[in-house]
Symmetry: D2
């Protein structure tokens, strides 16, 4: 059964929920999910609503226009509407490590995710055999300081060709340039191997070891121009002890990274993430 999912935010006012639920109900949509959140410090209202389209009177291709005219202007809303019968297209960027890649491809192949993965891009050939195992085209774009702009341009052409909606950096060890980020605003998902904002940048496990922390973490976030400082989607941690070497941290961290990344990606796929001012609202 096809559903519409709407994510919106606007200045908080009385009557918004009433208006929106009225709009859906009157037009014979059956609400199957509704959650709202008010950020009182910013006076902003957030909402995620999902309804069945079977008897819905407004055609899918008119929905955005109608809603915009009737309510979005009135409440100064920003909103997005998604349909459950569209499978978003996701590209994976990877370097040399396989754990996040395997984890996502296993979920994908098992049919757990409502997504299509038309291609994998890498700066190294190392993961080609994994891509082949799962039958997904694998493109290699080696990156140097000199060719970075050029290579990213080719990557973007390829992404456009494949109709890619969002990108997942599965331990991709290259900084994405502002040009590319601009093309995919809050659509590039990264996994950072630390409990951000601790240990930004390179070699966070070594840094965690040196600092002597008792817990390590991983952070899934959208990529912005400031390194490791974009909106956080998901985090998790695990305990370590003085017995753990840097290698142990790397090994334990792999499990964290892949689980945290996959949780974050699933929330993105399921349209449960709303970004506002470098923070996320994650609807449950």
């Amino acid at each position: 059964m096809s559903r519409a999912i709407m994510l919106l935010h606007c200045p908080d006012k009385q009557g918004i929920i009433t208006d929106i639920t009225n709009f859906i109900t009157v037009n014979k949509g059956n609400i199957v999910y509704l959650d709202q959140h008010v950020d009182y410090s910013e006076q902003i209202f957030f909402m995620r609503v999902e309804w069945e389209l079977d008897e819905f009177l407004i055609p899918k291709n008119k929905l955005e226009e109608y809603f915009c005219t009737l309510y979005a202007q009135k409440y100064d809303m920003r909103f997005k509407i998604y349909f459950s019968d569209y499978k978003p297209k996701m590209a994976i960027f990877v370097s040399k490590m396989s754990h996040c890649l395997y984890d996502m491809l296993a979920r994908y192949t098992a049919g757990e995710w409502n997504v299509e993965i038309p291609l994998i891009i890498s700066n190294h050939p190392d993961m080609q055999h994994v891509a082949e195992m799962f039958g997904i085209p694998y493109y290699v774009f080696p990156i140097t300081k000199e060719n970075k702009a050029e290579q990213e341009a080719k990557e973007m052409a390829l992404l456009q060709e494949y109709g890619v909606d969002f990108i997942v950096l599965a331990r991709y060890m290259q900084v994405i340039s502002p040009e590319m980020i601009e093309h995919y605003p809050n659509k590039i998902i990264n996994i950072h191997h630390s409990f951000l904002p601790a240990f930004v940048g390179a070699r966070p496990y070594q840094a965690a070891y040196d600092r002597g922390v008792k817990i390590i973490g991983a952070t899934c976030h959208y990529v912005t121009n400031e390194l490791d400082a974009g909106p956080i989607i998901e985090q998790d941690v695990c305990r370590i002890t003085h017995k753990d070497t840097v290698t142990d941290l790397v090994d334990k961290g792999k499990d964290l990274e892949k689980i945290v990344l996959s949780r974050g990606v699933l929330n993105h796929i399921d349209r449960k993430v709303l970004v506002y001012k470098n923070k996320t609202v994650i609807f449950g």
Copy 2:
């Protein structure tokens, strides 16, 4: 600023949210919290809504009647309305252990909880000095098989005298009789020192040790006639190892018990718990 809090559930139908938010908004209530949940396996709609009463047109003492007439009958609802300016009265039952008692009294004395604790009841004199430190009347009712009915009758008389709304069993080592439970349906909160439904009954830490589990837990639940089988409000766990003796489990468990109990009690005080068919909906 005074607020009304309504918890309700009813068979799921279209238009409920619209009707209720309309009802509040039209009568000049400002909604500050709304969360809903649909249990699709049972086809039941659950809702918690909170609104400011300053300009609300319906007087507090008429609210229940109006809502009942206008909506509850229409939707076959069960609902409860609470007002934020009423401080519920909570009795603590305790036996010989102090950790949960101290933890709750410290929060209470520091003003963290919107509650009044007019008395503490025990089957032993051991915790009298703690009650005295915090200036709270302490009543001892020693319980034997023979006098149990009689003593509980006296306790209930005392609870009524003090206008007690709900009871917290802070490691109270007596089974509550069906008569008393009937007087306080989903109003007696217990902490059980295991991860229920594992290790029901007496000596759960010994049982956990004997089974060789790697994680222990604590469970806060409402008391029903079946032992340790009432609706679960909150649970938490902590890791243990083969190095931990039964005494270590008891010590680590104390921290779990007091935190889990206090979280559960706070959810109850804040009217965030809705019980349906031996399970709870906990609004966030």
Copy 3:
């Protein structure tokens, strides 16, 4: 550099550590790991010690005999000696679900585990394509009440042919018969999809949902004749809420299951697990 790993236990007495460390040091072994544990309730001493063999004076094939003669008899010890340069052979048993299988094969293929996986056995053909992706022989033995003894006999013949040291049940939905368990004592590792001893047996997620728990878990344990009651190697949990359906529990549980199983298997591979009286000592 080759190492010896010894796991032992015996009645607790003075001088054991001294004797053993003396034995190793005098014979020019360099101790790189030593951990001991005393269970005071049972008065049993447990130890794991690991040493480099480069200059060790006793040949590998004489080590067991020498240690037995010199110390094991004296202290009434049970001990096992393993060598780091032997790769244990592990068989995977699987039914229809892929998540644990993928997770282990990804680690294996990436070279994370010091193990060999010569074959996968199943009662269904469903996972054949996964085995093929990773280039591992896959054998199907459909099991019915009538043919169970016969099929298990064939499986055991195959396991012997491949020189299998231990078996991992990766959500294998068949009860292993006592005959097979007897051949692999504490060498069959299972993942149960609940926080044991809660929800033993079939459909634990449905049972967890029905009970209304706030946390679900997974348990990795050795298989014994009593269902889901063998020595626990590893457990972990994750939070759920009233919003989670049984399907959600199954999905969240998959991540738990695969991580908990892989952690347990890794501990087994690394010779960190010592079983005593249906409980495990896990050396860190």
Copy 4:
């Protein structure tokens, strides 16, 4: 039964464990705890050993001298010997918040800790009533920029008068001066209300809120001259969501802070913490 506890570290060499266990066993000490750790990156050996003194041949007041002469010089060791029948004296420093204070005093009064708390020091009079409830002397030293050196000198005189062994800062909102830290090296325990090294300094909950993290933490560490950068003893975390305001973080953080602080203090009291180069080894 009286026990000796020895914590030591030295450059890693063969034979240390043998020598030390020999020393204890030969002199009729019964080892009841032994754990060792080798930091291979630093080539340092760490050990904690605990033995019963009943039949031990070396008198307590000669033990340090004998061990130093016989072994510490040989191995270039740093070591400390403690006796279980000495109750260390602990001072609490507090400002205006009660949660950590109550938590520690409740454990202390219940006899959970092998410690004496002879006094509480504060820069504010606010917690006087709590100290009085528990019958512990409370001294107020208001601190300004101008009088800080003078007031700390008075505090140190008082600490010496009471024979204080170590200090716990229970949300004490003053930076300790280098002079005082020098007098109590690795003997001043602080609780910082963030997951260090994230959010060093003032207002960490506001900073965590602004950054949009999904998990908050608390860190118990020894105080050094660099702010919030001393050796970490214990950390823990809890999940938050976009629904949590800064006030919610403060409230949830209180539970974290008190549990993490109390765990860290207990490890210190039980002589389980060994500091080496701004990191801790925590023996289990």
